[in-house]
C-alpha cells in the first residue's frame, strides 16, 4: 500500500481552562490518543456525538492546533518539523471547508474580490485573466452562469450557494485533500444532497480526498469510503462496513438511534416508556464507554480495549467483545 497522506500517531490534545470557581485549572482531553491513517484520494468520515473530539481532530489535521502529545505526519514528514516553505506547500495541499459558510466568507467582499486574493497570493493566473479563471472555478462547483456570482456578496447567496463558494475556494489550489468540518449540517436536506453530489464529482474529476467531520451517519453512509467513530477523544471503530456490521457497541447505539422513515415501523410509537438512561460519567480506568454499554462485563472495568482488527473486512474496533457485537443484526 502507498504511504498515507496524513498519519496520526498517539495524538493528544488537552485543553486547559480555569475551573468554574476560578480557583484552579481543569483539563479536557479532547483528543486522547488517536492513531489514524488518511489514504490518498479516499473519503474518510469522522462521526461521533458532540464532545467526542471530532472537530478538534479536524483542527489538528489543518495545523490550526498543535497537538499536546503525539505526531501528525504529512506524506511521511512530521508537521512540527516543516519549514516555512514546506508549511506553505502543506497549506496548499490540505484545504478546509467549515460548517457555516456564511461566517467563513467575508461579508464585506464580493466573491471575485475574496477569491481574487487567493489567485494573486498563489499566482494561479495572470492578472488580466483572474476573472476568467474564477469563472471556471465557480463553474466547476456547479454555479451557473458563473459570471453572475462573481460580483455578489455572501448575503446575496443562498446557504447552498455559499457552501459551493467555500468549496470552490478550497478547490482552487488543487489540494490533495479537503478537511470539511460539518459541511452539511447548516443546509436543507435537498441542498445537502447537491453538496454531497458535488463532493463526489470533484473526487472523480481530480482524485481529491476528503476528511468529513459529521454527526450525520445517514449522509456519511452515502459518501464515505471509510468511517471512523469517535467517543470521548478516541477512535472506537473504523472501517468501510460499519453501517452494515457495527463491531463496537457505541457505533451500534448511534445507528440504532437513527429515526425510521417508515411510519408503519416507527419505533417510538411502539416503544414502552422505558428509555435508555443518559450518559453516565466515566469512572477512571477501563473502557470509557462501559457506563452506557449494554455489553459491558467485568473485564471492561479493568482494561481499556485497544483498536484491533475484527473479522476479515479490515474493520478495527476497540471493544473486548467486538466479535459478538458484530455478529448481531441491527435493530431498527
Amino acid at each position: 500500500m502507498t504511504e498515507p497522506i496524513l498519519r496520526l500517531h498517539g495524538v493528544e490534545q488537552i485543553y486547559t481552562s480555569r475551573n468554574a470557581a476560578g480557583s484552579g485549572w481543569s483539563t479536557v482531553r479532547a483528543v486522547d490518543g488517536v492513531d489514524l491513517d488518511v489514504r490518498e484520494g479516499e473519503t474518510l468520515a469522522v462521526v461521533g456525538e458532540s464532545g467526542s473530539g471530532k472537530s478538534t481532530l479536524a483542527k489538528l489535521l489543518l495545523m490550526l492546533n498543535r497537538p499536546t502529545a503525539g505526531e501528525v505526519r504529512f506524506r511521511g514528514r512530521p508537521l512540527a518539523a516543516l519549514g516555512p516553505a514546506d508549511r506553505q506547500a502543506y497549506r496548499r495541499q490540505v484545504q478546509a471547508v467549515f460548517q457555516d459558510p456564511a461566517s467563513s466568507l467575508n461579508p464585506r467582499m464580493t466573491v471575485a474580490r475574496m477569491l481574487g486574493f487567493i489567485v494573486r497570493r498563489h499566482d494561479l493566473a495572470p492578472p488580466a485573466e483572474v476573472r476568467a479563471f474564477l469563472a471556471r472555478q465557480l463553474a466547476a462547483v456547479g454555479l451557473d452562469p458563473p459570471e453572475s456570482y462573481l460580483d455578489r456578496y455572501p448575503h446575496q447567496l443562498s446557504g447552498g450557494q455559499q457552501q459551493r463558494i467555500a468549496i470552490a475556494r478550497a478547490m482552487m489550489l488543487r489540494p490533495a485533500i479537503i478537511i470539511a468540518d460539518e459541511p452539511l449540517s447548516s443546509l436543507d436536506v435537498s441542498v445537502q444532497a447537491q453538496v454531497l453530489d458535488l463532493m463526489r464529482d470533484l473526487h472523480q474529476a481530480t482524485n481529491v480526498g476528503f476528511v468529513i467531520i459529521s454527526h450525520d451517519l445517514g449522509a456519511m453512509e452515502a459518501i464515505a469510503d471509510r468511517t471512523a467513530v469517535m467517543y470521548r477523544g478516541r477512535i472506537v471503530e473504523i472501517g468501510g462496513a460499519i453501517y452494515a456490521r457495527p463491531c463496537h457497541p457505541y457505533t451500534r447505539l448511534l445507528l440504532e438511534a437513527r429515526l425510521s422513515l417508515d411510519p408503519r415501523r416507527g419505533r417510538i410509537r411502539a416503544m414502552s416508556a422505558a428509555a435508555r438512561p443518559e450518559a453516565v460519567a466515566a469512572a477512571a480506568g477501563g473502557c470509557r464507554f462501559r457506563g452506557r454499554c449494554a455489553y459491558a462485563v467485568d473485564i471492561c472495568a479493568r482494561a481499556e480495549p485497544a483498536l484491533r482488527t475484527v473479522g476479515t473486512d479490515g474493520t478495527l474496533a476497540a471493544c473486548h467483545r467486538a466479535e459478538e457485537v458484530g455478529a448481531e443484526p441491527i435493530a431498527i
Binding site: 456525538e49 436543507d188 436536506v189 444532497a193 454527526h215 450525520d216 452515502a222 411510519p263
Partner: protein, 271 residues
C-alpha cells in the same frame, strides 16, 4: 383515524412581514387543524414558513414586524386573533397551549434556578409548598432523575438534553391541551434526540395532549405523527395521514423530500 373534535382551527391564515421596504409573504393562505389528542407534523425546509406559522398561531409574533395578519384562528372554539392580551395570558396559563423551541438555552434564564423558572409557569393558586411538590412532579414526569437536585441547578449546569426536558416541564406546567414543538430535537445528539422524542410521545399519550411538531426531519414525522402538513414558500402543498404521505405522496415536492431523506437513511426504507 382520529375523530375527536377539532381543537385548533386555522383558516386562510396570512402573515405578511415587513422586512425593510419589502413585504414578505411568510404565510400565504394556510388551512391547518389539530384535533384533541392528536399528533400533527408540520414539515418543510428553511424559509417555508413553518416556524412563523407556529408563532402566529400562538400569538408570539412581535407586532412591529407584521404587515398583514389575517384569517380565522380558533382554539377550543375561541377566537385567538382578536383575543385581548389578558385573556390570552389566562389561556397560556391554564389548559391552553404551550410551546417549546429548538434552542432551550436561548429561552431559559441563565441567572435563575430551574425550579423557580418552572414555578413561574404554574398557575398561581396553590401555596409555595404545593408548588415545590408540583415542580418536582413535573421534572420527574419529563424523565429527569433526582428532581429535587435539578430544581436547584442553573441552566448552564445541565446538558442539552436535560435543558430540553426542563423546557418541556415548563411547557407542561400549565397543563396544556396543545403543545407546539418547534424543532424540539434538532440541536441534540442522535441518542439524546431519541430519548427526548420518546418522552414527548409518552407525555402525548399519557396526558392525551395534542401536539404539533414543526420539523425539517421526516424521520421525526414518521416516528411520531398521525397526520402531516408539508409546507413550502408559505403554503401547505400537501396534508395527509402520515402513512399515506410516505407511501403515496400526492405532491411532487413531498415525493422529492421523501426520496432525498430515504437516500440518506438507506436502512429506513429497505432492511
Amino acid at each position: 383515524m382520529n375523530a375527536s373534535p377539532v381543537l385548533l382551527d386555522v383558516r386562510d391564515l396570512k402573515v405578511h412581514l415587513r422586512v425593510g421596504p419589502v413585504l414578505v409573504k411568510a404565510i400565504d393562505g394556510v388551512d391547518f387543524q389539530v384535533r384533541h389528542g392528536e399528533c400533527v407534523g408540520i414539515v418543510g425546509e428553511s424559509g417555508s414558513g413553518k416556524s412563523t406559522m407556529a408563532r402566529a398561531v400562538t400569538r408570539l409574533m412581535p407586532n412591529v414586524a407584521i404587515g398583514e395578519l389575517s384569517g380565522r384562528l380558533t382554539f377550543d372554539g375561541r377566537d385567538i386573533l382578536g383575543m385581548p392580551d389578558a385573556e390570552l395570558r389566562r389561556l397560556r396559563r391554564g389548559r391552553g397551549f404551550s410551546m417549546i423551541f429548538q434552542d432551550p438555552l436561548g429561552y431559559l434564564n441563565p441567572t435563575q434556578r430551574i425550579g423557580r423558572q418552572i414555578g413561574e409557569a404554574l398557575a398561581r393558586d396553590a401555596g409555595a409548598g404545593a408548588d415545590q411538590a408540583r415542580i418536582r412532579t413535573l421534572l420527574d414526569e419529563v424523565g429527569l432523575p433526582d428532581p429535587a437536585n435539578i430544581a436547584r441547578r442553573y441552566p448552564h449546569e445541565l446538558s442539552g438534553g436535560q435543558r430540553q426536558r426542563v423546557m418541556i416541564a415548563i411547557a407542561l406546567a400549565s397543563d396544556p391541551q396543545l403543545l407546539f414543538a418547534d424543532e424540539p430535537t434538532t440541536a441534540l445528539d442522535a441518542t439524546v434526540q431519541l430519548q427526548v422524542l420518546q418522552t414527548l410521545y409518552r407525555l402525548h399519550r399519557e396526558r392525551n395532549m395534542a401536539m404539533a411538531i414543526i420539523t425539517h426531519d421526516l424521520g421525526v414525522v414518521a416516528e411520531l405523527c398521525d397526520r402531516v402538513y408539508v409546507m413550502r414558500a408559505g403554503k401547505v402543498v400537501e396534508s395527509a395521514e402520515t402513512v399515506t404521505l410516505f407511501e403515496n405522496p400526492a405532491h411532487d415536492y413531498s415525493r422529492r423530500l421523501i426520496e432525498l431523506s430515504t437516500r440518506r437513511h438507506t436502512r429506513g426504507a429497505g432492511a
